[in-house]
Subunit: 201 residues, 2 copies
């Protein structure tokens, strides 16, 4: 008997890497076992099935993206600070887990209803105070008029898309890995500027 907790954790971490890279359909239990350096039977011993192992990884991945976002939006900060915190949070998270967002999106699109149920079970909701805060910044001319949904989707789009489509960006603009890292760093400053670009003159 090695330590039970360690083995289970090893499997989970390996599964996370493989699922996030290959997706559920593309992942192989053998590959996860190899990645964890653990016998393939152990995967079933601890998680019963590929499906159950996947679900744990998927739900844990979703939790990395949404609750933190809502937590920042619910804070007492002013809007500009919130936006900067969201941008920072996303770029730091995806630096550690580059394939996390495309994984969540791909699997969410495979099972939309399962995803909806899980999100609802987390009750992550955009705080009602947020809409008023946005309205006041719009009236002050700091942000161009738009609904809260557009505002949030804009931030998320500008942060996530370059990470998801990294290969596209590097190919089209002939960037090597260092240049791409630098590109992302530049966006940390650029994205909040765009979001707070005020009304068109």
């Amino acid at each position: 008997m090695t330590l039970k907790k360690e083995t289970e954790e090893q499997i989970f971490l390996a599964a996370q890497r493989v699922f996030q890279k290959k997706g559920f359909a593309g992942a192989r239990m053998q590959e996860i076992a190899d990645e964890a350096d653990i016998n393939k039977s152990m995967l079933h011993y601890y998680y019963r099935s590929k499906e159950k192992l996947f679900l744990e990884v998927f739900q844990s991945s979703v939790k990395k993206i949404f609750p933190q976002l809502v937590e920042i939006l619910s804070s007492g900060d002013d809007l500009e600070t919130k936006v900067k915190r969201v941008v920072d949070f996303y770029y730091n998270t995806f630096k550690k887990h580059p394939t996390l967002p495309s994984f969540v999106i791909h699997e969410m699109n495979q099972h939309p209803n399962r995803f909806k149920e899980f999100i609802n079970s987390l009750d992550v909701e955009v705080p009602s105070q947020f809409a008023e805060q946005l309205k006041s910044d719009i009236e002050a001319g700091r942000i161009m008029p738009m609904k809260p949904a557009h505002f949030l989707i804009n931030i998320v789009s500008l942060c996530l898309m370059p990470v998801i489509a990294r290969n596209m960006v590097q190919t089209l603009f002939s960037m090597d890995d260092d240049e791409f890292e630098n590109f992302l760093e530049e966006r940390k400053e650029l994205v909040p500027k765009i979001i707070f670009s005020g009304v068109k003159r």
Copy 2:
């Protein structure tokens, strides 16, 4: 003998639907055959293997996204017109093919090198004239200062992300399908406004 061309075309269209929805690893030859209402053996008769059928679908999908983009950027239009045309083009394309962008991104991430080679074989390149055009609009204060790569990625991000993450948007903001369609319509106007929001005051 039914018409050869029609059968081959039927298979391709069915494969397009299934691959774009499920991805290569998640797609089943039997499902493509059912979707095309054609015997499974015919898939191999016309396309030899799943891999070859997939490649045709993937390459055709990539061609739907990039060459048109470059064509618009290379035109004689002023920058604001170009942006509006790009936004219109993407929203119209993805209205017809909602799963196209997430499919291309997912498969591109599975085989980055294959993707790069194919893109290079198309020689889709951002026209050199474009950087100068952007510079002149920046100097005129119509756009906040940034490199061409940021400018283009911003447009693509704001257009593609809501389509790719449709289920996320609809879940978080409790939109039904009609409300979501309306949301996209609103963005057709909003995105160019954001892009041309000028310098921060």
